[in-house]
Amino acid sequence: MLKLQGEDEAAQLAPRRARVPVPRPTAPDVSPSSARLGLACLLLLLLLTLPARVDTSWWYIGALGARVICDNIPGLVSRQRQLCQRYPDIMRSVGEGAREWIRECQHQFRHHRWNCTTLDRDHTVFGRAMLRSSREAAFVYAISSAGVVHAITRACSQGELSVCSCDPYTRGRHHDQRGDFDWGGCSDNIHYGVRFAKAFVDAKEKRLKDARALMNLHNNRCGRTAVRRFLKLECKCHGVSGSCTLRTCWRALSDFRRTGDYLRRRYDGAVQVTATQDGANFTAARQGYRHATRTDLVYFDNSPDYCVLDKAAGSLGTAGRVCSKTSKGTDGCEIMCCGRGYDTTRVTRVTQCECKFHWCCAVRCKECRNTVDVHTCKAPKKAEWLDQT
């Protein structure tokens, strides 16, 4: 049985609305008789999703660049706005961090139908995709939370923030399997990053005490914990003549890619759950399903297939996406294009090649021209009918 930290807070949560997963066929049927059925399902979905919650989020902070003005972010709740106004330099780091975790999300899903595309000038950032309590929403909440931890911790170490600096408690003499060393340099202050990220990111979910908020709180914490897993020891040898008899070591964050890779694996193994009656915990969604642990991502609803443009479901479709003719994975044309076929375009690319270093001192390269075929997914037929919806 999963219990969130802070039982007082969890006890106050109560499910406002029970969500029922809507089954979707794996191959969409566009015959006229099914069109009416699809329309009915669409209307039902709209009814289920529309009143769920406010759809804006603090994620929009990444779009504002250096001009982080707290009142310009429509998705902030009052607690977040207070933190924003009080710590403007931290908000700048959070904004830069947002661009990084979105880029990481798009890297992790670059070969998938849903590829973490953001919508320009849209306050929701991801459109309606995040309204569904799907596996994809679980990943985005986790990686956004991780991104905030990473951005703040890094800014602390680089001296960009006045309220924090290097970890003040990591000092003195210590040892590892290679021998003794002194703590020195600048150990990353991940404790501060985690505490601030929790206060800022979780603020909204603690006001909306429903099952979806519980899911978000869980996935946010998964993201924060993931960054801590990749804190490593870095050392410098500065004994006589570079020997390792004298070492100075510090703790450092790993590249954010490692956190992204880890959360992607958690996404692949995410656990479908439902909220318990008292709304304080999760239980397995079906008999025989695995129970969620504190390191699992959790979700309630199955995902759409993301094949066609479906604004209500937050699906952009795969028309025009680049695919691989030879791959049998999710980036292969058969899967990416949902069986609709693909177009081929011939493209010539100019790259540097055969680079050589010459003493002393220059790197000289040649220019190579490569002609490659680029395959893109066809648009679905009967596009006119879909546009009418």
């Binding site: 410098k236 003549s241 193994g269 695995r290 001192c361």
Partner: protein, 314 residues
């Protein structure tokens, strides 16, 4: 259809969950050296900058290019750090143990500033190590970890290969004198040697034995005076045995005749006493007299070189 799809999803989730259920936990260590990523160490460190090699970085000021990259390829982050760590290597350069020693060391300490970092090739490292490691070992210093050759890329078009090592020798090869037997003549030079040695002793030598590649000097029981004790205890001086590392097959004029006393300097390394310098004791030598008398008044530098020796070939 729905049930089958759901069952497959559940099975996949279970399998993936099992695979990732117990991820490996372990502390990781990053020791600096060549890495595959263009940026190593902190991925979010400040971008590298390009600056003139300063005149007070004598290790690299004459290397052949004028601008260097900072942080360098040894992760030194400031010029002060580069200068401090590079100063240890000047005496090795002066020994001319390999014609590409400077190219190799400076490719790491003061790497050339281009649009990408250029590392020394493994063959350049191995050539420099082959030429210089025996000399360093003679003074009790192993080839340092930060210069281990496996850290550097196998030879390719984008690394620095051997540059001058292929040229024929400018002079006919002669048997080099043992490193420990090269002599300083000034009081300052002697005191520098005393700084870099752990102990200094005036003693007589009973006999010399050959032990693998080393020479072993067996001290006589009598007429022994500890001038600088360092790590030596009283019991250590009872029976002094000094090792001349890699000294078995090189000439040492001072030791051709064992009569009389010797001024001996050495280091204690892992319980073994290594000879770093040996002189015939000469009471008429004013420079030696001055050095012995004022040894402890000499301002030894904080990061003294691991050895101090004459640069001129004999």
């Amino acid at each position: 259809m729905w049930v089958a799809w759901s069952a497959r999803t559940a099975a996949l989730a279970l399998l993936l969950g099992a695979l990732h259920g117990a991820p490996t936990r372990g502390q990781e260590y990053d020791y600096y050296g060549w890495q595959a990523e263009p940026l190593h160490g902190r991925s979010y460190s400040k971008p590298p900058q390009c600056l003139d090699i300063p005149a007070d970085l004598p290790l690299c000021h004459t290397v052949g290019y004028k601008r260097m990259r900072l942080p360098n390829l040894l992760e030194h982050e400031s010029l002060a750090e580069v200068k401090q760590q590079a100063s240890s290597w000047l005496p090795l350069l002066a020994k001319r143990c390999h014609s590409d020693t400077q190219v190799f060391l400076c490719s790491l300490f003061a790497p050339v500033c281009l649009d990408r970092p250029i590392y020394p090739c493994r063959s350049l490292c191995e050539a420099a190590r082959a030429g210089c490691a025996p000399l360093m070992e003679a003074y009790g210093f192993p080839w340092p970890e930060m210069l281990h050759c496996h850290k550097f890329p196998l030879d390719n078009d984008l690394c620095i290969a051997v540059q001058f090592g292929h040229l024929p020798a400018t002079a006919p090869p002669v048997t080099k004198i043992c490193a420990q037997c090269e002599m300083e003549h000034s009081a300052d030079g002697l005191m520098e040697q005393m700084c870099s040695s752990d102990f200094v002793v005036k003693m007589r030598i009973k006999e010399i034995k050959i032990d693998n590649g080393d020479r072993k000097l067996i001290g006589a029981q009598k007429k022994k005076k500890l001038l600088k004790a360092g790590p030596l205890k009283r019991k250590d001086t009872k029976k002094l045995v000094l090792h001349m590392k890699n000294g078995a097959s090189c000439p040492c004029p001072q030791l051709d005749n064992l009569t009389g006393s010797f001024l001996v300097m050495g280091r204690k390394v892992e319980g073994q006493l290594l000879l770093t310098a040996v002189y015939r004791w000469d009471k008429k030598n004013k420079e030696m007299k001055f050095a012995v008398k004022f040894m402890f008044s000499y301002p030894c530098s904080l990061y003294y070189p691991f050895f101090y020796g004459a640069a001129e070939p004999h």
